[in-house]
């Protein structure tokens, strides 16, 4: 296992810019998750790291060594594609064993290693079957087994679970960390599902429109999003992004929400205390950080309930103040009614502000 580095990698397909100056370091033996909406360039980046595609510019390093001009097999990559790639004329056992041919010819070792991954992925009972005899979910497990049975420099998984049904996906997702700790390799894992990424990764990289927007631990990505897109993409229900104006009134910074105002904390004060002019920002606050009350608490924002969405054990309540709509997340089942007048209390320590022009986070 080695560390993986992309240095200023760009990739054009004719005129489409699939990757835009991406630089990335993935530590030796870590579990890195590349997260982004579909079409953002995730597959392209992985294919470049694997050596299936050459970058238009930029270099790729494995363990500090330039591997840009090496083929996938020279780089010693194991990879799982979005679709299972099983050799149809061989049974499952032989498929997994075939991947070991280059590493060992000792039949006992082959047998032992195949059985080990088969039990890790719970496919022992299928080992003697051929690919057309088993269903898609199992086949994808086989693809994973085929990859992790090897001692590769880097293991790449390109949305391995995205074609599976939800239930299967959740089971496999929870197994992935176990797989990582058993294999002890450098894992690069691609997904467009933020829950998947948050659940299994050491580090997450967020890709959008070919640009790597932020790299960090799941916690960092969630609590300190670098910009508006990251904040929007991570977290469920989605963060509220409210067009707002901040102004300084008697040594406190207030931000407008609809027709009302909420106070901001000291971080905001430091930033805005020099400017007398009101300034436009995008206010971000996660639905979990807003609580509701029927009493007109201090600094609470009056609002009207416009929609209640039940999640079973919780509710997402949509509120309206003037023309601004935002949502809040309430644990348990509340007895708020639609059209009811309530007061929303924003956790002011959990408020972000984004620059409306650059989308970068200001605080």
């Amino acid at each position: 296992m080695v560390s993986v580095e992309a240095r200023a990698v760009s990739k054009f397909f004719k005129t489409t810019k699939a990757l835009d100056n991406v630089s990335l370091v993935v530590d030796d033996g870590s579990f890195f998750c590349l997260l982004g909406p579909s079409g953002s360039g995730k597959t392209t980046l992985m294919r470049i790291l694997a050596g299936l595609e050459t970058p238009s510019s930029g270099r790729v390093y494995f363990g500090g060594e330039d591997v840009t001009d090496l083929s996938p097999s020279q780089r010693n990559i194991a990879m799982v594609f979005q679709f299972p790639s099983i050799y149809p004329s061989l049974n499952i056992y032989e498929n997994i064993a075939l991947a070991l041919r280059r590493e060992t010819s000792d039949p006992n070792e082959i047998r032992e290693r195949v059985m080990q991954v088969a039990s890790l992925l719970k496919i022992e009972e299928h080992l003697n079957k051929k690919s057309h005899q088993i269903d898609f979910g199992i086949l994808q497990r086989v693809s994973i087994a085929k990859a992790i049975v090897r001692k590769a420099n880097v293991y790449i998984f390109d949305e391995p679970l995205s074609n599976l049904d939800t239930k299967l996906r959740e089971t496999l997702r929870s197994e992935f960390q176990k797989i990582h700790s058993e294999v002890r390799g450098t894992f690069l894992y691609v997904t467009h599902d933020q829950l998947e990424a948050m659940a299994i990764a050491d580090k997450i990289g967020i890709l959008n429109n070919g640009k790597l927007l932020q790299v960090g631990s799941p916690d960092e990505i969630y609590s300190q999003p670098a910009n508006r897109f990251v904040a929007y993409f991570i977290g469920s229900p989605t963060i509220n992004l409210i067009e707002s104006e901040v102004r300084l009134v008697e040594n406190t910074v207030y931000a407008s929400v609809g027709d009302g105002y909420i106070p901001l904390n000291n971080k905001a004060l430091k930033l805005f205390q020099t400017s007398r002019e009101p300034r436009k920002i995008i206010l971000g606050i996660r639905p979990h950080e807003i609580s509701l009350s029927r009493e007109p608490l201090h600094n609470a924002l009056p609002a009207e309930v416009s929609l209640i969405e039940s999640l079973g054990t919780a509710q997402v309540i949509e509120l309206r103040n003037g023309s601004t709509v935002f949502r809040c997340y309430v644990d348990g089942l509340s007895d708020f009614k639609e059209k009811e007048k309530v007061y929303a209390v924003f956790n002011i320590e959990a408020i972000y502000a984004f620059d409306p022009k650059t989308d970068e986070r200001v605080f």
Binding site: S73, N76, I77, M79, F83, S85, L98, A99, R101, K146
Partner: protein
């Protein structure tokens, strides 16, 4: 009006029949009827030139043919031709298909050029190759002399190879198209995954390429074997079956028996033996192909 008529049950059922009558009639008059007529004729001694009335001889024509060493030698000649030609066509077609599977500039144009021999009339091909093999100014002769230093007279020294090469020239592109179609049908991710799995090229071929091209190769081999077996016009124009009988394949024998010696009954009997062999071959291949 017409629509209502169509809906009435009788017309509704009769209409399709009505539509295929011309085609069926054509087949019956031009294929089935002559076939049965010929089958009948093969039990008679008959000379179409003399026009005597046919004399019924039962299976005499067949036993005569099957007991004649001459005919068996023709079978061997035909078998050699088919074997050499089809194997070479497979190899050349296979190589060409792999060449054209890699994407390069001008690939489409090159494929078109390579497949043009398929479009040339067989008689023209025969005549071309007479010039190509010509002992004094033939292109082939020239290049062979360039390489080996020897002036070879293909048509008299290596007549079998001469007809085989001609067939290979014309029909390798056919093999190529089939194999290329098979190669194109291999999912890209399977090829990539075999690269990722670090398979040796032989395993890559065995487990990724071959399973995809096998049915198409079988089909192409079937077509080519049947077609090579009944090759007539190219060989007839190039060598006329000669020198002597060295390139006289069965179809030429049938032609000669029927139209040079005018032993019509015998010729039809031979044609029927020929037909049976082709049908057997077809079945054999189809069975092979279906077993996969």
């Amino acid at each position: 009006m017409g629509r209502r008529n169509l809906r009435s049950p009788i017309t509704y059922r009769a209409f399709p029949i009505f539509l295929i009558i011309p085609a069926v009639a054509l087949v019956i008059f031009l294929v089935i009827f002559p076939l049965i007529w010929a089958l009948g004729l093969s039990f008679y001694s008959y000379n179409a030139l003399r026009g005597d009335s046919p004399v019924f001889v039962g299976l005499d024509n067949y036993s005569l043919l099957l007991n004649s060493g001459e005919i068996w030698r023709r079978f061997i000649t035909t078998g050699q031709f088919v074997l050499y030609a089809v194997v070479l066509e497979f190899l050349v077609g296979f190589a060409l298909a792999h060449l054209f599977f890699t994407k390069f500039k001008g690939r489409r144009l090159a494929i078109t050029l390579v497949t043009t021999p398929l479009l040339i009339a067989p008689v023209a091909v025969g005549i071309f190759f007479r010039y190509i093999y010509d002992a004094t100014f033939g292109v082939f002769t020239y290049f062979v002399e360039l390489v080996t230093g020897q002036r070879i007279r293909m048509l008299s020294q290596q007549p079998m190879l001469a007809v085989v090469f001609m067939d290979v020239w014309q029909w390798s592109p056919f093999m190529m198209l089939f194999i290329l179609a098979g190669l194109e049908a291999i999912p890209k991710h399977m090829l990539e995954s075999s690269e990722i799995d670090r398979l040796s090229w032989i395993n890559k071929f065995r487990y990724v390429v071959w399973p995809k091209i096998k049915p198409l190769v079988a089909l192409a081999l079937l077509f080519r074997t049947m077609d090579a077996f009944r090759t007539f016009d190219t060989i007839f124009t190039l060598t006329g079956g000669g020198p002597g009988t060295l390139t006289e394949v069965l179809s030429i024998t049938i032609y000669r028996t029927a139209f040079q010696f005018f032993r019509t009954g015998e010729a039809t009997a031979l044609a029927f033996i020929f037909l049976v062999i082709i049908i057997l071959l077809t079945n054999l291949y189809l069975r092979l192909a279906r077993r996969e």
